[in-house]
């Protein structure tokens, strides 16, 4: 293979681009870890960095180092703050990944887990559970998990409906989007109906659920949501090239390049839905992240899904984590639900990026 004089510069510029992407990823991960450490040290209880780090690694350290930290502070960090931080990361990463995947296979930048009906469906499931009154029953765990299970089941049902409709008419991008939009409205109306007949305390609970909150996240919840994410993320990454083909050319091109269009679309949709449902069932509706984190990532790192997928996850995680921190700290000890803050934090950022990189906003 003859490499003439022009080629090395091309090769070099390609290499430089790769290196730049890799650096961006590393920077993103580093930023995320730093943010997590910061979130760990800040809160209603101000613990210094050193104290929080010591408390975090308590079992590994000699007892003497921990004498001055009361056990309840260690417990606070381990049981309250840390699971909340990890849940923020899991939720942000999961929703962003689901958003990228769905945008890719539908070739539609307006698609997000919300607009495909998943989040409204989960809200409906939760509101039904709350309406049934069973959640108020003392039997400790049944009530808590009933809401979660109902939300999850409802989200999965919605996704099944969307996929079933599209299977009847061909699993095309348009079908997914239109079917999803229709179901969004349907579930929103259903939730509104539930709110209409609910009693005041039920209504308050339902509305609260729709805010999206990380308050009181436990390690169990983190394990479930995190588990689904850990299973789904590599699956999506495996289909990165397929997503490139879908996004760049559409069904015909993807097929001509050897991708099994219907199967890939179904698999990606199912994975995206499962991740979203797993997150949203626990946290409530956190909107905006699934829509905007992919676009922020795209503006920074381009449309190649091999990079876009992990980078969106990082952007999403950072967005939710920082929003949760802001919500916790700005009006402490009043906690503003993260679902509300995310938009305030994300929109200015998004607009800024959009305006400053107008020339390369190849959306």
């Amino acid at each position: 293979m003859k490499m003439d004089i022009p080629a090395p510069t091309l090769m070099q510029s390609l290499q430089r681009h790769q290196r730049r992407n890799a650096l961006a990823m590393i920077a993103g991960v580093a930023l995320l870890i730093a943010a997590m450490a910061l979130a760990g040290s800040l809160g209603a209880q101000k613990l210094g960095m050193a104290t929080s780090l010591r408390a975090l690694f308590a079992p590994l350290l000699p007892v003497a180092w921990l004498n001055d930290i009361p056990a309840w502070q260690i417990s606070l960090l381990q049981q309250l703050r840390l699971p909340r931080i990890v849940m923020a990361v899991v939720a942000g990463a999961g929703l962003a990944l689901a958003g990228v995947a769905m945008q890719g296979i539908t070739r539609n930048p307006l698609v997000s887990p919300y607009t495909v009906g998943i989040s409204p469906a989960a809200a409906f499931g939760a509101s039904l559970a709350i309406l049934s009154g069973a959640t108020g029953v003392a039997g400790a765990w049944s009530g808590l998990y009933l809401t979660v299970a109902a939300a999850f089941a409802s989200a999965v049902l919605c996704a099944t409906l969307v996929l079933a409709f599209s299977a009847l008419r061909g699993v095309s991008a348009t079908m997914l989007v239109l079917g999803g939009v229709g179901l969004t409205y349907l579930f929103s109306a259903l939730t509104a109906s539930v709110q209409f007949v609910a009693t005041e305390q039920q209504l308050a609970a339902i509305v609260q659920w729709t805010f999206g909150s990380l308050n009181g996240s436990t390690w169990n919840e983190v394990a479930v949501a995190g588990g689904v994410l850990l299973l789904g993320a590599p699956l999506l990454q495996w289909h990165a090239w397929a997503l490139n083909a879908f996004a760049a050319g559409g069904d015909d091109i993807a097929a001509s390049l050897g991708f099994a269009v219907g199967r890939v679309r179904t698999v990606v949709t199912v994975v995206a839905v499962m991740i979203t449902a797993a997150v949203v069932s626990f946290t409530g509706v956190i909107g905006f992240v699934g829509l905007v984190a992919p676009h922020i990532a795209r503006l920074l790192i381009g449309g190649d899904h091999r990079w876009l997928l992990p980078f969106s996850a990082i952007v999403g995680a950072l967005l939710v984590l920082l929003s949760d921190m802001a919500g916790r700290l700005l009006f402490a000890p009043v906690i503003i639900p993260v679902g509300i803050v995310v938009a305030y934090v994300g929109v200015p950022l998004f607009l800024h990026l959009l305006l400053s990189s107008r020339h390369k906003a190849g959306l």
Binding site: D4, M11, A247, A255, A260
Partner: protein, 257 residues
């Protein structure tokens, strides 16, 4: 290379392609001409199975002896490269990545380096060095066409299907695109089947022409045999004068009778 006989294609109740017989040899460029709606695009999509053709005992589609209907998706993609007519608004992908998509059917877990070399080679061959890192949607029509050709090139198929590659291009880029197709045919020994409007361009670059009308093959062969005033009047409803300026053919439409 490509051998089609007795192909029928129905869409719903309508018969779109009727008893098509067509061959494309290795290293040969065949121009597929005909009016709008004649079925040119449809035929191309039948060959690469974007359109599902019902298997029947009379119809056969083979590529270098292998039955196209029996091939797996991946093998089909390795064998046939397709450049469509309309690429809708794509979500931003860099040119280099667009081209790299063409390696998808060949990619294995350790083929990274080889794929990369092939992509670089194609970029060189189609003179896309300057554009390699630019987003695809910032490119002009002619540049985009070159990128899509480069993608088809890296696919290294035995057959290249081009659907109206010159419709949106200016004179300069039209010549460029057809020359590139010629080079690909020569360099890789692939057969090339081009659906094309421009009769003169088709005649100039193709080795053979196939003229379609309403889903049927009206004429096949050298351009002098196919592009006759009678054929053109019968198929297009236009009287025309055909000639050549040295080696370069021209077709001048006169008037509608």
């Amino acid at each position: 290379m490509l051998n089609i006989s007795g192909l029928h294609y129905r869409h719903g109740k309508r018969l779109i392609l009727d008893n098509i017989d067509l061959q494309v040899g290795a290293g040969e460029i065949v121009g597929l001409v005909g009016p709008n709606g004649a079925g040119k695009s449809t035929l191309l999509k039948c060959i690469n199975r974007i359109n599902r053709v019902m298997p029947s005992q009379h119809a056969r589609m083979t590529l270098a002896g292998d039955n196209l209907q029996d091939m797996s998706r991946r093998n089909l993609a390795r064998a046939i490269a397709y450049v469509p007519q309309h690429t809708g608004p794509a979500m931003s992908l860099r040119v280099a990545d667009m081209i790299a998509l063409g390696r998808a059917p060949h990619r294995t877990w350790n083929s990274g380096e080889r794929d990369h070399r092939i992509v670089l080679d194609a970029i060189e061959r189609l003179k896309l060095q300057e554009l390699a890192l630019r987003p695809y949607d910032e490119l002009s029509g002619g540049e985009r066409q070159r990128v899509l050709l480069a993608r088809a090139l890296v696919q290294q198929g035995r057959l290249l299907l081009l659907d109206e590659p010159t419709s949106d291009l200016d004179l300069h880029h039209q010549l460029e695109a057809m020359t590139a197709a010629r080079e690909i045919a020569d360099a890789q020994g692939s057969g090339v089947l081009i659906a094309i409007h421009d009769l003169a361009l088709a005649a100039r670059f193709a080795d053979r022409l196939v003229m379609l009308r309403e889903g049927r093959v009206v004429a096949q062969g050298h351009w002098r045999e196919v592009l006759t005033p009678q054929h053109i009047e019968a198929v297009y409803g236009v009287s025309a004068r055909i000639g050549s300026d040295g080696d370069i053919p021209y077709v001048i439409p006169l008037r509608t009778p």
